[in-house]
Symmetry: C2
Subunit: 702 residues, 2 copies
């Protein structure tokens, strides 16, 4: 496979660097001291039978957080951040996420519960693992890195090569080369990124095989991690031999299932390995990586980029490893794993040679200075082991006293950080807060989200086969198209509401100043509001709160209104207090009193930067039921499912009276700011985004 | 009742002049020579049991066209115009509307069919009239003028007066004064506006009571019109005596029903007169008016305004007529009706005195110069009878030869005029053509329409209790709110359609020039379209129809696109012809080939001024069914009920192939221009507005 030549001669450098990336991160729930907890997986995360983002791995305490695949690693990291924020804010107050791979504070084995899936087979499989390997080994956590080559690259490269006559065979060959070369050279990544130099002696049940004070590079990737019996041999010479030998291991009982084969690369494309032969390999999963405790989400973006370059390098190499080379790679991995992390590796020369080849490749691909710098930084770590992740980790453990104490300290720090901007989903902070709140709830409940357009606040949601689209957090398929069109036109809104029998302030419209002034006698002595027909920002509005008393004042106010619009309304002024009702379906879910803006940004709570330009006080429970019903009726008259209704009310504790002067509708809004209700300045928070989800996906239940 | 003083002292002049106005106009369907036809009421006008605008009066041939009430007379005239355009364009080719009150070309009496209502009582009542009065008298047509005082005026005036303690009693007194003074002075309006100086002798069955060549002012309002027997006496001294005496006439068999009482004023407020006592008078109907043949719709706007001033004058008068004065008025009416229209009236002095009082009133009300000019013009007609409507009519009859010939000639003219702008509803021509087409169909089918906002194309439709709102002719409650939001974002549209499995041209988005140019290798050698993400007007778009061949051309195109938007898309260019599919529900109703604009206004048909800026050719029947189904699927993927879909198609006669390069979706439009399909440049017209109505009101059927 002459991939270098093909890429070089056909300008495929850019496509070669494209692909899809997904991350899976395991970790233990612990208490503030780093002890693994024995509480059930939090119910707030919904059902593990479908949750796409928040799962459990082996144990009930062992979270598995999964990003969807993304074309950019940066986006996978945004997802990882978002999922972490959701989990950390949803955990019980006294629970944390342990940031190190090796478990600490292990409870007695009988207290460790296998993850409680609905499907009994899932539980039985874990019970089998408990028996065969002991529960403690299964508690080790790590990061899995999923990589898919650009399909466009694969198709173009196939069309240009002559070695393979079928696309699938070509694609399988690419992934086999990637997997085998990775297995051959994975020790390099281990040297650079390993972070499991030590563990509590309890982990080994009886006696630790390590000498007192002995440190290694990676217990997790050593034979003390969870590895298969040496009897399990899978042949990597071809995809066919790989599949057949894997099946043979299951058939002869060495493995209970294919998934018990703990390779650091898994080829993906079906439930069973044999499907790879039928359908072709879709992507590869790399399982080598220890949790990086200095990265709040277990892995640094730069390391993830470096891994990507490394994977490209494995494809770029002229050589293609077979079973022999894979075995060499495995032996080297074990050897490096048990080296003292404070010393140079025995294979430094090979490591440096491979990274120099990476540099050459990146230069040829015009991959940019950033990538070269990144690889050079790693290259330098062969000469100075203290610069590796292990080097930094060992120093930190020494400073704090134990790896458990370090883990507990970092776990507390990361949880506190996740609450700093409690109202936001930080990684998606250029979307509106309402959309961020909805996004948060969707991740929490396990509804698949896809950002269709970030600037436009456009999400696609999926639950099973049920697809929904949402814009701005509350614009959905449940509303009729005509409803927002009614609401965005004040005159039409009033006519529709009047027709439905609701009290709307009477108004007269004018198209020119003379006509309006000629009608002055109609308004003399009345409290009126004079306003442009279609502005929304308060411009050009004059209120005669007592009464308009002379023609000149009236004319001036009309003239000001005409500066903003070619139609002007003179409307009866209603006396009372304005409340915002949030209606969803046949229920008023929230009522807010908005104290008018004070011409400055109001800080809501000490550490937030939300501003509604005015104070907002939740009055949902205080508001008389009759008004809550009126707000629902108003929304329904306009055919709206989600609607903000502004009512003027003389006394919120007394029932609504039917006569016009006592109350009235001011406006209806099809994009009500849910954030005002979720994070009011004062009073109870109303999590409206959950109600939106319930409306869209009634099948989920509570 | 001291109304003058009350208005004067409380600045009620403006309110006094407000009110609601409705018009009802009867007329006969005739052939091109003015002969009344014996064909059934056209089925296209739907069912008379509910039709609010197009009814039949006594005979099957006798149209009754009804405007809804409007606060401005101008609006009632717009409705009258609209209803006439609908009727004239819907009549059989050889049928016309006769513009004169007295019937001409009367068929043998047995061929005249009473109007065929569903309700047998309606038919029986007409059969009773046929028996009692003869059918010919019932064929006379006229205009009824409905007037309602401003309720705000009535309420304010009531609050300020001391004579009445109940609002209802005060309101009834106002209407009684209006009715009685009208009956006292109605001869004045007759003198000025009468237009039935003659009739065919056939009308009188045996011998005409008129001398040979004798002309009168109004046969219709004379004892030769349809008047009750002299035995029928209804007492107007009070509303109570009015109701009781009317009921007595029915009880003793002089009238078969209350509605057989042919007064020139009917007080309205219930089905039976007694309800007036319970509910109060709601409005008054004035039935005096002959059709004005020189007005295409039977009455001139200026005459309607004059009538309004006259009615105000009847309220303004210090005197209030009782039964005695009503009787005087009736005798004067008969006398003036039979005067020679070429001569002065015997009551000139009284007429001039009343009109001078009208002038004084209008001055005091500051009603404006236009109203004074109008009344002065009428005042002058007392000195010169040739200036009255009759004067002009007699001259015209003489010129043409007979009133039947004049009627036939005008009928043809008016019908031709109604077709001049066949694509429009002229009176509502500042709305979009699609809305005008929908409006036309709604009037035709008898669905109540209310214009909520003319500039905003906002209509309220009502059929029974079923209310619907429509904007722009096709934005309705049937579409989901999210659908147009998807469609107005090209990137989201493509993602949604790709997700649903439709072929969309592949595209890549960029947020800056450098980034885009760096990705040039991805596009080299491909046919691509480079465009701003969200413009709709073709600005900033570059098409490399063959292939983009050098980086400089590509960079230039990207730079041009970035001038229009902060995001730019580079999209695969599809080869084929673009067609517009109009989808409604689960059906493609129309397909159009749009030849691109030629930089000039294209005249569609000789006498139209519609322009789509390009030729459009209907291809609905030619398009392969597979593509019609694809368009439906695309609309459904976006949750859209009404949708314009632009497809690129290699060959419309062959089935759609699944592979990407053969066809593709370009765009979806939530406000598809229905007019393009209704009036294509070439090919069959598709009346899509009827399909919209059927979607909204499935209960109406076809």
């Amino acid at each position: 496979m002459k991939l270098q030549k093909l890429i070089r001669e056909n300008h495929l450098a850019l496509l070669f660097q494209q692909g899809n990336f997904g991350l899976e991160k395991e970790s233990q729930r612990v208490d503030r001291n780093g002890n693994i907890v024995t509480t059930p997986h939090p119910a707030v995360f919904g059902n593990r039978s479908y949750h796409p983002y928040i799962q459990t791995d082996f144990a009930e305490s062992q979270l598995e957080l999964i990003t969807p695949p993304n074309a950019k690693l940066e986006d996978s990291f945004r997802w990882l951040s978002a999922i972490h924020e959701v989990v950390l804010r949803s955990l019980p107050e006294e629970e944390y996420i342990f940031p190190l791979s090796m478990p600490a504070g292990l409870p007695p084995e009988e207290q460790i519960q296998e993850a409680q899936f609905d499907n009994p087979e899932d539980v039985q499989y874990r019970q089998h693992l408990s028996k065969n390997y002991g529960k403690y080994k299964q508690m080790v956590s790590g990061v899995h890195y999923n990589f898919q080559l650009s399909t466009e690259f694969v198709e173009k490269a196939f069309a240009l090569q002559t070695e393979y006559s079928e696309l699938k065979a070509f694609q399988n060959a690419l992934y086999m080369k990637l997997a085998n070369n990775f297995l051959r050279y994975q020790w390099i990544l281990l040297y650079l990124l390993a972070a499991t130099p030590t563990v509590e002696s309890q982990y080994f049940y009886e006696k630790s095989p390590l000498a007192r004070g002995q440190l290694v590079r990676s217990l997790r990737s050593s034979p003390y991690g969870y590895v298969n019996s040496e009897k399990v041999v899978v042949n990597h010479d071809s995809l066919e031999s790989y599949v057949e030998s894997l099946e043979a291991n299951v058939a002869n009982g060495l493995l209970i299932a294919e998934k018990e084969f703990y390779s650091n690369v898994r080829l993906r494309g079906g439930k069973k390995a044999r499907e790879l032969l039928e359908n072709g390999v879709k992507y590869a999963e790399f399982r080598l990586f220890d949790l990086n405790p200095f990265a709040p989400y277990g892995i640094e973006l730069n390391d993830a980029k470096f891994i990507h370059y490394f994977l490209l390098g494995m494809l770029w190499l002229e050589e293609t490893s077979g079973q022999k080379e894979v075995e060499i790679g495995k032996r080297k991995l074990y050897q490096v794993a048990l080296e003292d992390p404070r010393t140079e590796t025995a294979f430094r020369a090979e490591g440096e040679a491979i990274l120099n080849q990476l540099l050459a490749m990146l230069e040829e691909l015009s991959a940019g200075q950033e990538s070269l710098d990144l690889v050079r930084e790693k290259l330098a770590q062969f000469a100075d082991p203290s610069k590796t992740l292990n080097g930094r980790l060992i120093a930190a453990i020494e400073e704090v006293g134990s790896y458990k104490a370090l883990g507990a300290k970092l776990a507390q720090t990361y949880k506190a950080q996740a609450f700093e901007r409690f109202y936001a989903l930080s990684a998606f902070d250029n979307m509106e807060l309402s959309t961020q709140a909805l996004f948060f709830d969707l991740i929490q409940q396990g509804i698949e989200v896809e950002v269709l357009d970030e600037n436009d606040q456009f999400l696609a949601l999926k639950f099973g086969d049920h697809l929904e689209y949402v814009k701005n957090g509350n614009m959905t398929s449940r509303d009729q198209y005509i409803s927002p069109l009614i609401m965005e036109n004040k005159v039409v809104t009033k006519k529709v509401l009047a027709k439905a029998g609701f009290n709307v302030p009477k108004s007269v419209e004018f198209t020119n100043l003379e006509q309006a002034v000629a009608h002055y006698p109609l308004f003399e002595g009345k409290a009126v509001v004079i306003k442009p027909k279609s502005t929304n920002y308060g411009l050009g509005i004059t209120i005669f709160q007592q009464a308009v008393k002379n023609r000149e004042d009236f004319a001036k106010a009309v003239e000001i209104a005409f500066r903003e619009d070619k139609e002007v309304m003179v409307e009866d002024y209603l006396v009372g207090t304005e409340y915002r009702f949030f209606v969803l379906g046949d229920e008023t879910l929230a009522v807010l009193l908005r104290v008018p803006a004070k011409g400055q940004t109001v800080q809501l709570r000490a550490n937030s930067n939300i501003s509604t330009g005015g104070d907002s006080i939740d009055m949902t429970d205080q508001m008389h039921e009759s008004y809550r019903q009126i707000a629902v009726g108003i929304a329904q008259a306009m055919g709206a499912k989600v609607c903000g209704v502004d009512l003027i009310i003389p006394d919120l504790t007394k029932p609504a009276e039917p006569n016009l002067s006592s109350w009235g509708v001011i406006e209806a809004n099809f994009n009500p700011m849910m954030m005002m209700h979720i994070f009011p300045y004062q009073g109870k928070s109303r999590r409206l985004t959950k109600a939106v989800i319930k409306m869209l996906f009634p099948e989920i239940g509570n």
